[in-house]
């Protein structure tokens, strides 16, 4: 069941997304950005028991995975969630799922004939 080269590229991206989300602090940060819309680190940091520096570090990890982006706004940066990236990761799993359906269909024909 070779999967296509294009799917391969998609997978590399999706793995980064899954890994970036596999941390409680980062999940909470994404959650807050989803709920509250774009915001600065100052606002984002309210209520987090860790330093702004630590939060920036987490944001950078997610930025590398393409999950969040920042844009300069006055003297601060405003962070937002990259919606397409989340959707891509989900679509990716759906694609693998569909490929398994197809592959198992072949196994079925093979053992039932």
């Amino acid at each position: 069941m070779p999967r296509s080269a294009r799917a391969n590229a998609a997978f590399t991206g999706a793995v980064a997304v899954f890994a970036a989300l596999g941390d409680e602090t980062r999940l909470r940060l994404v959650s807050r950005l989803c709920d509250g819309g774009p915001m600065s680190i100052t606002r984002l940091a309210v209520g987090f028991p860790i330093t702004r520096q630590a939060i920036t570090k987490h944001l950078r990890v997610m930025e590398r995975a393409g999950l969040v982006r920042s844009a300069p706004h006055g003297r601060e940066s405003v962070w937002h969630v990259e919606r397409k990236r989340l959707a891509d990761a989900r679509r990716h799993l759906q694609m693998i799922s569909a490929q398994w359906d197809e592959t198992l269909g072949r196994l079925k024909r093979f053992v039932e004939r």
């Binding site: 997978f11 959650s31 919606r83 693998i96």
Partner: protein, 165 residues
């Protein structure tokens, strides 16, 4: 967990064939290769890295045609466990199909085939997991409460995607 970004895929399929037949189609490298579309160098051995090359499947002409451009490309799986007529598991690099790319340092996913005898034949359950590379133990530690963590994330992402749509 079936919505949004789950980190595993689970499939169930009823095969109208005896469990011993299904087991052979999985555990015998030659038989596996015929429906899957790969030719392995040797028999499956637990713990071993099994090398092979893509050879278009003989089971489906359309799929064989789609596989043709990849014919001859290396294909590898590492056998994780073999429990006769019960369980067959391997690790692989999903989507490792680019020529000239070394995937050995990249994370693998675990594919598990479980067989269960039922009245009409064999119920086969396939799971592929590890898409997030986070060991289950660590995740359990990170998310002690049921209502938090992944469940929360899934709900959030669902909501978020609904917004985006």
């Amino acid at each position: 967990m079936s919505t949004a970004i789950a980190d595993r895929i689970e499939k169930k399929i009823l095969l109208r064939a005896p469990r011993a037949r299904v087991w052979r189609a999985l555990a015998n490298a030659g038989e596996f290769g015929r429906w899957f579309g790969v030719k392995f160098d040797g028999p499956f051995t637990p713990g071993a890295l099994q090398r092979g090359v893509i050879v278009p499947t003989t089971v489906d002409a359309d799929v064989a045609k789609a596989q043709q451009p990849y014919a001859g490309m290396p294909f590898e799986i590492t056998i994780d466990r073999m429990e006769p007529e019960r369980l067959f598991a391997f690790r692989w690099h999903p989507f490792a199909v680019e020529r000239d790319v070394d995937y050995s340092s990249e994370p693998t996913t675990l594919v598990v085939f479980s067989l269960e005898e039922v009245a009409d034949g064999t119920l086969l359950t396939v799971t592929e997991s590890g898409f997030d590379r986070i060991p289950l133990a660590r995740r359990a530690q990170a998310f002690p409460a049921n209502e938090q963590g992944w469940t929360m994330m899934v709900a959030l992402i669902e909501k978020h995607l609904a917004h985006a749509a």
